[in-house]
């Protein structure tokens, strides 16, 4: 059951991740909850996408499914040219390790490793040596040169999250997913982290997708997708915080 469907190279080069008619049900029978209801979306290379929506809209589920953390009930999810459904746990893990970067809400660093060790962890797990010039560039972008040998407990929340972003960037993934990356940060630290993600798109050519409920954070994106009741209901390009807030009010109101 390890079918891999290849998409034509021309399309693959533009699309970093794609969801086609994705359905996600939780539970079964009468109590089933439809978290995603035939969602189709394409995430383009070199673009910064924010997914927004009220609580329970399915925005986190969509991201988990796109990132290979959760399996879909129906539909197709592809990362680059690889279709995720039917991948073995081993292949899925390797895919996450080699082609996807993650930034979690609660930092999720290994407390016993230093900042630098945390940044290079996925590379080390894969048994590879880091690409030094790239790593240097990432570290410069993070602005953490003087904190590299500190443990997470010796870093502030913003610094920890910057380390987490560094970990996501270090392996030069095809796409980075952020799950409320600023959810636990104050506004100044939020700004710093979003700035770094923005620069990784602009300067390093990364593809970034985040889930957020903060319009200010969403305003750093190129494109904002709005979810409600498991469907994509709206989309905004070149957003400002105010514009995002307006749409959100409309959705919730």
């Amino acid at each position: 059951m390890t079918q891999v469907r290849t998409v034509s190279p021309a399309v693959a080069s533009i699309v970093a991740a794609r969801a086609t008619e994705v359905v996600k049900l939780y539970g079964s029978g009468d109590t089933a909850v439809r978290a995603l209801d035939h969602v189709s979306v394409e995430l383009v290379r070199g673009e910064f996408t924010a997914i927004m929506g009220p609580s329970g809209s399915g925005k986190s589920t969509l991201m988990h499914c796109l990132a290979g953390l959760d399996a879909v009930t129906a539909g197709i999810v592809e990362i680059g040219d690889v279709e995720l459904s039917g991948l073995s746990d081993k292949k899925m893990t390797a895919l996450r390790r080699d082609r996807i970067g993650f930034v979690f809400q609660s930092f999720n660093l290994v407390p016993t490793l230093t900042a630098l060790e945390n940044i290079t962890l996925p590379i080390a797990i894969a048994g590879r040596t880091p690409d030094q010039p790239w790593l240097d560039m990432v570290i410069t972008t993070l602005g953490l040169s003087d904190r590299l040998h500190h443990r997470p407990s010796e870093l502030s929340g913003g610094q920890q999250q910057r380390v987490a972003v560094g970990r996501a960037l270090a392996g030069q993934p095809e796409i980075i997913f952020g799950d409320e990356p600023t959810g636990n940060l104050d506004s100044r630290s939020s700004g710093e982290v979003m700035g770094i993600l923005r620069r990784s798109v602009d300067d390093l050519g990364q593809t970034v997708v985040i889930v957020t409920h903060d319009p200010k954070a969403a305003s750093y994106a190129d494109r904002v997708l709005f979810l409600a009741d498991g469907r994509i209901v709206d989309e905004l390009r070149a957003p400002t915080a105010d514009a995002v807030l307006d749409r959100m009010k409309k959705l919730e109101g």
Binding site: D89, R97, P111, I125
Partner: protein, 850 residues
Amino acid sequence: MTAATLRNPMRVVSVRNLAAHKVRLILTVVSVLLGTAFVAGSFVFTDTLNRSFTKIFNSADRGIDSRVEARKSYDPGVPLSLVDQVRALPGVRAVQPVATASIVLIGKDGKRVSTGGAPSEGKIWTSAVDSVTTPPTFVTGTAPVAAGQVVINNGAAKKARLATGDHAKVVLPNAGVVDVTISGVYRTETETGGYVGVLFSRPQALQLLTDGSHLSALDVAAGNGVSEQTLTARIAQILPADLKAQTGDQVRKDDQQGIQTALSFVNYILLAFGFIALVVGTFIIYNTFSMIVAQRLRELALLRAVGADRKQIRRSVVLEAGIIGAIGSVAGLAGGVGLAFGLHALLDALNLGLPSGGLVISPRTVLVALLAGTGVTLLSAYAPARRAAKIPPVAAMREEFASASAGSLRRRTLIGSVVGGLGVLATVAGAASNKGGTAAGLIGLGLLAVGAGAMLLSPLLAGWVITPLGKLLGRPFGAVGELARTNAVRNPRRTAATSFALTLGLLLVSGVAVIGASMKSSINSLFDNNVSASYSLSSQADLGVPIRAAAAAGRVAGVGSMTELHDLAVQLDGGGGQSGTAVDGPLAPVLKVDVKRGAAAPGPGTMIVSDSTAKKSGWGVGSTHMLSTHNGRTITETVSGVYKDNQLLGPWMVTGEVYRALVPTNQWSDIVALIKAAPGTDEAALRAGLERVTDPYYVINVQNRSEFKGQLASQVNGLLGLVYGMLGLAIVIAVLGIINTLALSVVERRREIGMLRAVGMQRKQVRRTIYVESLLIATFGALLGLVLGVTYGSLFAATLLRSQGLDRLSIPWTQAVAFLVAAAVVGVLAALWPGVRAARTRPLEAIATS
């Protein structure tokens, strides 16, 4: 939810907590169970044996109203003439002469009937008239009436496949092999597992089992209306000074006391197992509760926040401990009964001559097991409970927390350094002291203190040892090894408590391994340096080498010289009894006597003594001493030489003439006969010759040098086997501890493991991380135990053995490395299940909040 309020909210929380974490509950219960089981098992086993033996002795002693025997064991016993004198006393119904000697019964297959541990003895057949109790009933046949007729017990008959009318052989010390006819098979209720009882007719028994003039005892039954006391007092009046009369009650009481003394050794060993299991279990229980408290921190803080006071929190943790302790103790009690049953069945299967009978579970056993199990659990959980009570309510709101404060570790380190330091001082003082007893005492004290210090310091040591060790062992595993190493030192307190079970086990086993190896190599070197015999003859049964067998061996072609050694127990200079050696034949060819002064061998009228005996008793060359056994029979010997102490020679040596003058003829035998081959003799032919002439005696081992040496050294193996058993137990408990700790840390690190899975760690890698972490913890514990065990084993060997004349220190390095590897393997095995559990963590758990 109903509107009803919880009547006892804290209790409900405790109980539901236990129910919610069944694996944790089971592992902790098992660690309590193991210790309790050994405590309970030891009591049940010894109580059972005690009752069975008591029953046997009571039945054997039944009907005795008074017993006459010698005051001193080395006296010859009761003169035959006394039988009629006692019978003539008023109020005497029956006088039963008692004479017992070790014998060997040869079965139909021509092989000796092995009894396991049970006695194999020859006795006098007593008719109903003379019996103090009813004589045994016959299964078949009739009583022995003539010389050459015997009756044997049913068990022995079955084993030897002998039936009434069959011809058989009986081996005796001096008489050698006697041909007998089975005139009957009797039944006795006093029969233990492999017991062999051969009853001779009275005249032949007196000839074979006694010196011809003395019995070992007289059992007397009183007539109607005469009390035990009256009878005993009457008999006492006619007895000479060297004999005593005891009432039947006294005899039974003494016998019972003898049983208890004999069994107390077994009891101590089993209790030692229980103690070790409980001590090791303590660490596991402590660790479990510490982790439970850490994991429930937010919940406990929440309880505090909603109004539970410290006492309530503490009580709820203690209550959990109490429940676990109670369940564990009850299960342990059941396990102990099972253990005793199994042990009994095992020994029975090995034919060790145990009496049969139902298991005895006394109220004391139940009480001690329950108290020990529950007490240890409560005690171990107390510190974590206190820590739980100190959790501030605000912790409920905090995201992260530190589980152990560095300050308390500092205090622990300080106390550990002081205790350990004192231990080192005591050890150094002990090693410097040259008095054996004091030295061993001080070193023992030092070991206790250093052990306690090591336990307190082990969180610190864990960091020091595991970091370089992890870099070394973890290198082949790359990032996985690095993660495992940092995880192993993440919570030093926990690592220390987990590994200390192995530390204790290895401390014990490596220490004894060093002592055992030193004893063996000392015995070997003693043998190599002092024994030059080509062959030795020794006996498989406790009746020694019959002297006729030795005499026959001495005439075999190729025997250059033969030296016979006898064990001689006498009263020295009218004082206490002492055992020495009597020798026939030349010493020089077979044994080296390191002469300090005077002669190298005893001669007519002379004895030689060891240096320490001479010093202790103030003897010297020229001093004369009285050796006496029989009333009146005394021989005076003059010391002609003093030799350097030697385990093989004993405290003093006299000639065989002295032995024959003092020991009753029927008891004459050799403990060992040493043979030196004549120059140029073919060894194989000599051996074959020796075996040919000794085979008819059935019980003789012909051994060459290495076999004889091996037999001496094999005594050490029994001791080692026992301690390896203890190690096995400590390891079982240590494994449970490691499983428990790892399983709990996996739960604790669920989010972290989920994150690692999300960023691309394969399941295999997750498992491997846990394995390597466990490997490091186990290796650390084993290393610490090995270092302590080898150090203290060497110190004990050096001081204790020196005083025993065994002076070779030998450290079994290969074995030590094997122990270490075994511990490492055990570590990995213990991690299998927690590793699999960890690998099952889903990546999404990293994201799940709370």
